[in-house]
Amino acid sequence: MLEFFSKITRHVPSTEFYSDLPFWGYFIAIVIAVRALPPRNSIRTILFLGANVLMLMALPRFSPTALLIYVGLAVFTYALGYLLSGDTVKTKRGRIACAVVGIVAVLFVLAVFKYRLVQELVIKDRSIFGRGAANFIFLIGISYSSFKAIHFIIESYKKSIKDLHFLDFLNYLLFFPSFVSGPINRYNDFYENSARARGSRLRDDFIPGLERIVHGLFKKFVITVILLPHTLVHMKTPVDHLPTWQIFLGLYTYALYFYFDFSGYTDLAIGSARLLGFNLPENFNLPFLKKNIQQLWANWHMSLTGWLTDYVYWPLVRKMRNMEMLRQHPLVISNLAIIITFFLCGAWHGERVNFIVWGLYHGVGIAAVNIYQKWKRRMRHPMVLKYFGSRLSYCVGVVLTFNFFALGLLFFFDAHEVASVLGRLF
């Protein structure tokens, strides 16, 4: 089996998604082949699966073993989803056990292939991953696929998954436009908004899809290329020797670079998916024009924040509402749940402590906004109320929020660099 996939890999010239020319060649061929068949044709589903597999195999760091791991993950997740969606497991205890085992297993796979420390403990012989696998093996796309799998298990537990079909699930999990960096789409939405459900043809999706791709290419090939040399990471002078204004400029540019890079990627993913007949969820809605950090996060990487809200924040809030000591304190419950959620959000971004500190920084920031909002609601003075409703208040909020976010990016640097920059700033 591995040999078969190795043979395929050898015949597929590798390409980075969206930024290399071969990618677009493959993509156009796939769009033509897939859309040539009628939307409800089962051959189209199989052809589409083949296209997804070939595209993943074309990724430079994607090995046949990685594909087998993903297929294994898909089989396991689907089997659990099948059990939970039907009446095979009858008791509530059994159903909860099934869901918990599934979620823990998926998190285990995520931890093994995302965190070096866990991998060193679990995998002793890395030669199974083929050439160049002597060091840490990062399974590309695992952060997003694992969250999709967990979503599928939880929704199966709630019996809200419609039209359960293994090939459809495999295509959902391995969907190449959103495989590497999202958006984290939901199973039901994926098929309910697809060309198959809408009965649409390529000519209906062509202009909207192409438009998004052009926006994405502009952000990636023009804006980020202009911004990159001015970001703090790319400045040639050591941070200690930079004047304060340049540190701020570097941070602001870095924040903008982050936004244009990631939202550009999202545009390309959404546009490409549209050409293939699928609607992916939006990930950004002008986050840097929001007046507080809570609103910024509600409009930044929306598919991740939506996932965390549904599967971490609300379950935590519901759990805490049942605790005697917390029941009377909704603000404490909300803030605790936010801080824990952002702690996990930080851990999801990477194994370094920096990411966890970055997550906590944003969690505490949103909690502070929550407290401030409560205080604001008590205000009755007409002058203060007039100010809160004014354009000035909005502008002050936008500037402060952007500064808070940009300063937070410092946590992506090494600890001594962060200390050095903070020392220069304050």
Partner: protein, 47 residues
């Protein structure tokens, strides 16, 4: 003046797309000529 504004508004999507395509082509040509250097990899690819 009003009609110019109306025309611009009516074709704003097309104008924006033309502007974007123009600069994409310029940057790609520059890249091919070795001036702009490589396109940076996507930030979130390694997350």
């Amino acid at each position: 003046m009003k009609s110019i504004y109306e025309t611009l508004k009516q074709h704003s999507r097309l104008i924006l797309l033309t502007f974007e395509v123009f600069w994409i082509v310029i940057f790609l040509l520059d890249r091919l000529g070795g001036g702009a250097g490589g396109v940076p990899t996507f930030v979130y690819v390694n997350f």
